[in-house]
């Protein structure tokens, strides 16, 4: 078993976001979902001094800079829609597994945008992870 670098990074993401799942629950015990999102952005902003790229940032292509900023906008909008779904009468036990299916959008779009191939065994892994996410959030 050789764990490739991308998987190590992904595992770090899983660990950090897994703890976030608990903190999200704890914060909404005390404050509203909207307030939680506002303080989440404040937390993001606290990290900004560590990641400040300086004027070097202007050397990247405008298109990629736009992708990066719009990705943040879409991520926060998605979280907002999730809160709206929960407030609009959606049961957490249905909304959470449903929204956890976002990798499906990526899986459908990747062949159209990027030239990457996935082996049959890897497809089985992707299927297992989607099943796992739905079962875990149910």
């Amino acid at each position: 078993m050789h764990i490739p670098p991308w998987l190590w990074y992904s595992i770090l993401t899983v660990l950090a976001w897994g703890v976030v799942g608990i903190l999200q629950k704890l914060s909404t015990n005390y404050i509203s979902a909207e307030s939680s999102l506002i303080w989440l952005v404040v937390g993001f902003l606290l990290l900004e001094p560590f990641f400040y790229p300086g004027p070097a940032v202007l050397h990247y292509t405008k298109l990629n800079l736009t992708y990066a900023i719009v990705s943040g906008l879409l991520n926060a909008l998605g979280a907002w829609a999730l809160f709206a779904a929960l407030k609009g009468g959606g049961k957490a036990s249905i909304v959470a597994p449903l929204t956890a299916l976002y990798p499906v959008v990526v899986i459908v779009l990747v062949p159209l945008i990027l030239h990457e191939s996935v082996s049959r065994l890897q497809w089985a892994g992707v299927a297992c992870s989607l099943i796992a996410v739905v079962l875990l959030s149910a």
């Binding site: 078993m1 490739p4 670098p5 991308w6 990074y9 992904s10 595992i11 993401t13 899983v14 950090a16 976001w17 897994g18 703890v19 976030v20 799942g21 608990i22 704890l26 914060s27 909404t28 404050i31 909207e34 307030s35 506002i38 303080w39 952005v41 404040v42 993001f44 606290l46 990641f51 990247y60 990629n64 992708y67 990066a68 990705s71 943040g72 906008l73 991520n75 926060a76 979280a79 907002w80 829609a81 709206a84 959606g90 909304v95 299916l101 976002y102 990798p103 990526v106 899986i107 990747v110 945008i113 990027l114 892994g125 992707v126 297992c128 992870s129 099943i131 796992a132 079962l135 875990l136």
Partner: protein
């Protein structure tokens, strides 16, 4: 059939679909940007993108936020840890690894939430969650082959 009809008529269903589309697009744009831009700069720019949404919510609430120190502390900690997790995801995309596999692997984070909810929050353990952990383990083993 009636369940499908019920879902189509419910606002929460469409909000959930908006969420899925937004997050799907977020992951894909993260990958595209990461092809050139290093992870720390990606996270810096990502945060700039989240600010307008926070501001709109703040204005919608007329600046009135609950004064719960615990709630605020958990909320801010959320942002710090989400940012670190996001940084790692950008780093994963930056390695030029397979986008489909990285997105699927990183989406496995509920496995940690479930384990922590049971051990720390003492939530009841449900058999369906064990099945979920089993599938997650298989996925990770396959990805590491």
């Amino acid at each position: 059939m009636s369940l499908l009809k019920q879902m189509r008529n419910a606002s929460w269903f469409w909000y959930s679909m908006i969420c899925v589309l937004c997050w799907g697009a977020w992951a894909l744009l993260s990958k595209l940007g990461s092809q050139e831009i290093p992870p720390d700069t990606m996270q810096f720019l990502f945060t700039i993108g989240t600010v307008p949404v926070g501001l709109v919510l703040l204005i919608a609430r007329r600046g009135k936020l609950e004064k719960s120190p615990r709630g605020i502390a958990y909320g801010i900690l959320n942002g710090v840890l989400s940012g670190i997790g996001g940084l790692a995801l950008f780093a994963a995309y930056h390695t030029n690894g397979n986008t489909t596999l990285i997105t699927a692997a990183a989406a496995l984070y509920p496995m940690i939430t479930v384990v922590l909810a049971i051990t720390i929050l003492r939530e009841r353990f449900r058999p369906i969650q064990a099945l979920g952990l089993f599938f997650a383990a298989i996925a990770i083993v396959i990805f590491s082959l």
